[in-house]
């Protein structure tokens, strides 16, 4: 799971307000190189909840990311940093924690399990 995927996931716990972003506990991460394409990174940025990403990145010991400024969209150094953050860091093992309920969701082999009831399947 990459950090952009984390950035789109909310807590499935019903009635949990402010259930975004999920707190990310990263036990094992890998960096896999990917080809840089500035246009693609700009496109991905258009979907990012930046403040949530910035806090998450800091919490797992990456970054720091700058405070948002519209000028960053055209800043090549920043786009390269975002490329690394969004596309090259893979969380392999860890946990996602619902900020409202404290309920934890495991990430194993890179796949977060957002099921509440295992017996659903």
């Amino acid at each position: 799971m990459r950090l952009l995927t984390h950035n789109m996931l909310a807590s499935p716990v019903k009635g949990a307000n402010n259930a975004f972003p999920l707190k990310l506990v990263c036990e094992k991460k890998e960096v896999m190189e990917a080809d840089f394409d500035a246009e693609m990174v700009k496109h991905l940025l258009s979907r990012v909840e930046y403040d949530a990403l910035r806090a998450t990145v800091e919490s797992i010991g990456e970054g720091p990311l700058p405070v948002w400024d519209d000028g960053l969209k055209e800043n090549e150094d920043f786009l390269r940093q975002m490329h690394h953050i969004l596309l090259e860091i893979h969380v392999i093992e860890g946990e996602l924690e619902c900020p409202a309920s404290g309920r934890k969701f495991k990430i194993s082999d890179g796949i977060p399990n957002m099921l509440i009831n295992e017996e659903e399947v």
Partner: protein, 221 residues
């Protein structure tokens, strides 16, 4: 990438090892998957450089194929841990870069907590047909409409076409039948009497660009 080349890659994707009948886990064959994806890319330009989601991705053939055709970010969702483990392995084998998330699609994306956002440009999916669990096909479609900004591509039983077209248009989407397919479903389950069963399937495209223009409140910077 040429069509034959894509099909070749997708032939290396291992399908369900132990298909689960309640989840209607019929694999999308490499033949059908490659032609679907090729049409989406070549005719509609909805994969290259796009953010793509696959709902009920199973072993990942559509998600992986979409990524091989140039999607800039792809996420596959499924409820079944065995299918996802296989999808993860297939992803590595094909040297694709797809993220996978385990969730129950209709209940996870039920609109609570302000989610889902319109995160994806394109949704590509082969959802359950709703044969075992009535209405689940429409639940998947509804979620797809909530997640995608541009278009949704989906496979449905031809016998349900009128119902789907009517519902989609009531949700504000323009729908076209891209192709009529024959799904050759092998005898994987006990309830199948014949050796194989041909099912008439529509390959549908839903254009969401007129539904509502995504605003800043949908997220993004």
């Amino acid at each position: 990438m040429k069509l034959k080349e894509l099909e070749g890659f997708l032939q290396t994707v291992t399908p369900f090892q132990n298909p689960k009948v309640m989840l209607e886990q019929y694999p999308t064959s490499p033949h059908i998957a490659s032609r679907m994806l090729y049409a989406i890319d070549a005719t509609f330009d909805d994969l290259d450089g796009k953010i793509v989601g696959d709902l009920g991705c199973g072993c990942g053939v559509l998600a992986i194929g979409a990524n091989l055709l140039g999607s800039c970010y792809t996420v596959g969702f499924d409820v079944d841990t065995d299918a996802l483990a296989q999808a993860h392995e297939n992803n590595t084998d094909c040297e694709a870069e797809v993220d996978f998330v385990r969730c129950d699609i209709p209940s996870y994306f039920d609109g609570e907590n302000g989610f889902p956002r319109k995160f994806f440009d394109t949704i590509v999916m082969n959802p359950p047909f709703g044969t075992r669990k009535k209405g689940v096909d429409m639940e998947f479609l509804k979620v797809a409409f909530q997640l995608a900004r541009g278009s949704v591509y989906s496979l449905h039983k031809t016998s349900t076409r009128n119902h789907i077209l009517k519902t989609a248009s009531s949700w504000g989407a323009k729908c076209e039948v891209v192709a009529e397919l024959r799904f050759d479903i092998p005898n994987m389950y006990k309830h199948h009497k014949k050796r194989t069963q041909d099912v008439q399937v529509d390959f549908l495209r839903f254009d969401l660009s007129q539904v509502s223009s995504p605003s800043e409140s949908d997220g993004g910077v």
